[in-house]
Amino acid sequence: MNRHFENLALALSALRANLMQSILTTLGIIVGVASVITVVSVMQGFSSSITGQFENMGSNTLVVEPHVPFRERISGVRAKLTYEDFEAISRRVDDIEIIVPVIYQMPGTLKYRGEQASLQFFMGTVSAYAELNNHFPENGRFLIPSDDTYRRKVIVLGSDIRKDLNLPAEPAGEYVELNSQWYKVVGEMEAQDSFLGFSRNKMVIMPFQTAVGLLREKASEKMQFMIRVHNIDDQDRVKEQIKRLLRKRHNIGPNERDDFKINSSDQMREQFETVLDGVTFVVAAIVGVSLLVGGIGIMNIMLVSVTERTREIGICKALGATRNDILVQFLAEAIILCLLGGLIGIGIGYGLGAVVELAIPGIPAVVVPFWAVALSLGFSSLIGIVFGIAPASKAANLDPIIALHYE
């Protein structure tokens, strides 16, 4: 052990001798590890925010939305959900705890006393939305049933919007202008993590019927129903009932496709995870290639180094170095080289992650998990071993007398 420690020290001193060259050699490793760390850190941010979102929503939530396949959609076919569909589902499907109609409309411009903010979207919904999404007002109030009844022009603000418009800390009672119409602010929502670039903090909520009045016939294309079932076990049955009911109401023939989609929050999470997995896979492939290139670079420089130091190796063998000593020394050199590249890559990856976080507003906070660092370093060492073994054994197997006579 003591002996191998010495071999390590020898390896280090050889690397120190050409530090700049050594670092350049590890460029492939640096690129590979830096991309792993960058992507993993950004993805981790996303997936923890997604997980957070779905936890708020609860896993026993369904979302019904109009849906036509892309090909039909570009030829002008539009799917619709109506308020009557909503009422039918609420009345006829069992085991629903909460059902909420939601209309999304984007984008819009909001004005307040000369300040202006562009909205990612505004939303029309009813009072039960808050409970279903576990998202409540920070101050003021949320929508109440009578807002809907009288189609009141009231609005609840996302927390970022209030700040952007320089509204007072308790904005209730102020009037804001949305797409040239005046609305009274009744409350401000609590801040939430942003979600795949969509931030609920940047939206405004108005009564459902107010939004319907605004959008008229277009409202039913933008309509969704959010449903919470009593018990997660009932989810599939509820889905089936809704499906049958809507197919009947929409007069869909037995061989025709649904003109709506029912997603469970689990399903949506799976979809997001599939996307994330896809991205991860692509990145893994890029990383794999750059690590391979990096490894070949390392092997190349090590082979050159073995040739350059042939005589030295011969001397060490003449002085009593065993095959193992030489093997360990050169293998250690390759591994240290790779680890060096790995460490630099981790540093750059951290930096890039931070830059991405700064550059893209609304992106979740970047997290570099410990496992990614450990994995990167582990992989770097593995590359060192795999690609260092050939040069190291070439060095170890040199015949001392031939090595000593090498010019």
Binding site: N2, E312, A318, L319, T322
Partner: protein
């Protein structure tokens, strides 16, 4: 590569006992260094056999050969063969690393060896910062530091002035007194005469093997 086979050594029959003081002489290219390499377990003869301490060297594995080179033999090369990126001290420490001596004992031992060859104060210098004679003395210190039973010196005084040569020979005499064996390749008549046995090689063959009076 040249095509024609050169017999660097041919039909050499030599037996060396413990505590012998041997000079090998011969013209350039006669095969002296080749013989030393075989004795030093660096090279293997293509035919015939070599026994070291009763062991057939051709039967030793790679690691056993390394151990033998480290423990039994101190090799002073004709061309010094110092590690170019290592200081004088590190060069002398190197064989001690392979013999497994604890780190704390190595430095003291190496410094003592350097002092013996008169290089105190030069331990931090790299080989290219030393003169030819100084390099040769580093090589000698490195061969002596492990206290090997056999010292093989290929023209150890070739680059030294007569004073230093005398000091080195005195050092060798001291080693003979403590029971070591020394084999010196030399072109210098004085040194050859100084040894107790003189072997003359010509064209890879031993042409003379004479014993002279005991070392002075």
């Amino acid at each position: 590569m040249g095509g024609e086979t050169i017999r660097a050594l041919d039909g050499v029959d030599l037996s060396v006992k413990q505590n012998e003081y041997i000079a090998i002489v011969g013209t350039s290219g006669s095969g002296k260094s080749t013989l030393m390499n075989i004795i030093g377990c660096l090279d293997q003869p293509t035919g015939g056999e070599y026994q070291l301490n009763g062991t057939m060297v051709s039967l030793l594995g790679d690691t056993a050969l390394s151990v033998a080179r480290n423990r039994d033999i101190g090799f002073i090369f004709q061309s010094f063969n110092l590690l170019p990126r290592a200081t004088a001290l590190q060069n002398v420490i190197q064989p001690l690393i392979y013999s497994g001596l604890p780190r704390k004992d190595r430095k003291a031992k190496a410094l003592a060896a350097l002092e013996k060859v008169g290089l105190q104060g030069r331990e931090g210098h790299l080989p290219n910062q030393l003169s030819g004679g100084q390099r040769q003395r580093v090589a000698i210190a490195r061969a002596l530091v492990t206290d090997p039973a056999i010292i093989l010196a290929d023209e150890p005084t070739g680059n030294l002035d007569s004073n230093t040569t005398a000091e080195i020979m005195a050092l060798f005499d001291g080693l003979i007194e403590t029971g070591h064996s020394i084999i010196i390749v030399t072109h210098e008549h004085d040194i050859a005469e100084h040894c107790s046995r003189q072997i003359t090689i010509s064209d890879g063959k031993i042409v003379a093997d004479t014993r002279v009076g005991a070392a002075a």
